[in-house]
């Protein structure tokens, strides 16, 4: 059966980013169709924890996008909070050594200057804030803006709220382009969808979709695991992780190193995630990675040693070489917009991304400026270069 549809914009990808793009585009008055080769939330969205974090971001364009997104998440929660299990629980970042605490406070000071709300928590108050935390930690910083959603529910409910037409189980085989290079829709095995604009919200598959529009975007997958415990009573109040800070080669900024994020959920299980590995699309179990997650969590919360882990699963974070997403119009293919490569932050950054894409679609000037996220910032490798 083949059919042909016409609309204002086709969003490729029914994950969280695609849902947010659909929602804000529809709010801007556009007729939206969302196409996915799988079901709703079938990719990275369905394999993540739903971290909405500012705490882990250094001042810069990604933090600005996160601050915008967290504001938008709070607005969305007013409409859909319970359905998407939104919980403004706040984050707590702890240091495990006095040096790390110094680094953490310096990092937090810089974040504060960039608009992040930070609340230093000295050692003697840590267990007031998070009672089950391991004793003897030198201190931490609380980030009240950090929050949580259940990502698959968020994607599904925001897609429904968008009113967009949802076509699942349809792989885009080709991004259709006119002779002058402008985009005019997508081809699927069950018919074409015509539109003057196509949004690439295909997550880890974003590079492949770009290739099907004949443009280069080096999105790569990075594996991470999540551990899920038996249901427990509410014992962990925040999103909690340990952090250390190492000076980079130039020595003028600090890079953040974090432990697994440990947090409770509305349903009871504690989630622990997630390490990062560059292993391509290998979903098989890495006991080594899973053990490291468990050890990190048990150091922060000794009581978890007794909890039983019911399952673990792998997800793939889509990332670009400079670890910033690609957001905005692609000058190489007029009508093509990208919204992918958010690495481990896609759920948190989705509303901001969706809003910026909607503004770009309607010709408004987006702010903060999309320049750092330009999708054409990566030169296509020459044939000799290793891929």
């Amino acid at each position: 059966m083949s059919e042909s549809l016409t609309c204002d914009v086709v969003v490729v990808g029914a994950g969280m980013t695609g849902a947010a793009c659909a929602l804000y585009a529809a709010r801007a008055g556009l007729d939206v169709t969302v196409v996915d080769r799988g079901p709703v939330a079938g990719g990275t969205t369905g394999a993540g924890e739903g971290n909405l974090l500012v705490s882990d971001k250094a001042p810069g364009p990604e933090l600005d996008l996160a601050l915008l997104s967290l504001r938008l998440w709070a607005e969305l929660a007013a409409l859909h909070g319970p359905e998407v299990e939104y919980d403004a629980k706040g984050g707590l970042v702890v240091a495990e050594t006095p040096e790390a605490y110094d680094g953490l406070r310096a990092f937090a000071d810089a974040q504060r200057a960039a608009g992040v709300t930070v609340e230093p928590v000295p050692a003697d108050r840590l267990r007031d804030v998070e009672p089950r935390l391991a004793p003897g930690l030198p201190g931490g910083v609380r980030y009240p803006q950090d929050a949580q959603v259940m990502p698959a529910l968020a994607a599904a409910h925001l897609l429904r709220a968008s009113g967009a037409r949802l076509l699942t189980g349809r792989e885009v085989t080709r991004v259709l382009r006119a002779r002058d290079g402008t985009v005019r829709g997508v081809r699927t095995p069950r018919g074409d969808v015509h539109a003057p604009a196509v949004v690439n919200a295909a997550g880890t598959w974003g590079g492949e979709l770009a290739a099907r529009a004949d443009v280069f975007l080096p999105v790569m997958p990075r594996r991470g695991f999540v551990l899920v415990t038996e249901p427990l009573p509410p014992r962990i109040r925040h999103k909690v992780y340990a952090a250390d800070y190492v000076a980079d080669v130039a020595g003028d900024t600090a890079d953040l190193l974090t432990s697994p994020v440990v947090e409770g959920t509305a349903a009871g299980p504690v989630l622990i995630g997630a390490g990062r590995e560059r292993v391509g699309f290998d979903r098989s179990l890495s006991l080594r990675a899973v053990r490291a997650l468990a050890a990190g969590a048990a150091r922060l919360f000794p009581f978890l040693s007794e909890a039983r882990v019911l399952r673990t699963y792998a997800g793939f974070r889509p990332y670009l070489p400079d670890h910033l997403p690609a957001i905005g119009p692609d000058p190489r293919a007029p009508g093509l917009f990208h919204a992918c490569g958010h690495e481990g932050a896609g759920i948190g950054l989705a509303p901001g991304t969706g809003l910026l894409i909607a503004r770009a679609l309607t010709g408004e000037t987006p702010e903060p400026a999309l320049a750092p996220f330009r999708p054409d910032r990566f030169p296509r490798p020459t044939k000799e270069a290793p891929r």
């Binding site: 038996e230 249901p231 009573p233």
Partner: protein
Amino acid sequence: MRTPEDGGTGRAFEVTFDGRPVEALPGRTVAAVLWAAGVTSWRTTRDGGRPRGVFCGIGVCFDCLVTVNGRPNQRACLVPARPGDVIRTQEGTGHED
């Protein structure tokens, strides 16, 4: 519950279920001891507070979770009863607070 071939070679011993004494035969699981005492449920669910007991009987379904000697979430169909065991109906997650 009937115990078709009671009176075997092992010596009976006592455990408690929610504070009351229950006779147990050696080698029986906690679930078998409770069935023999006419008890078919020893857990209530997290959301609905509904009673549950043995379902699959072979350790697959986890419906028969029970608290034994203060340790919650033991599968009653797998754990052998031992003299003096304190067996308690488990509510919700089985964990305190």
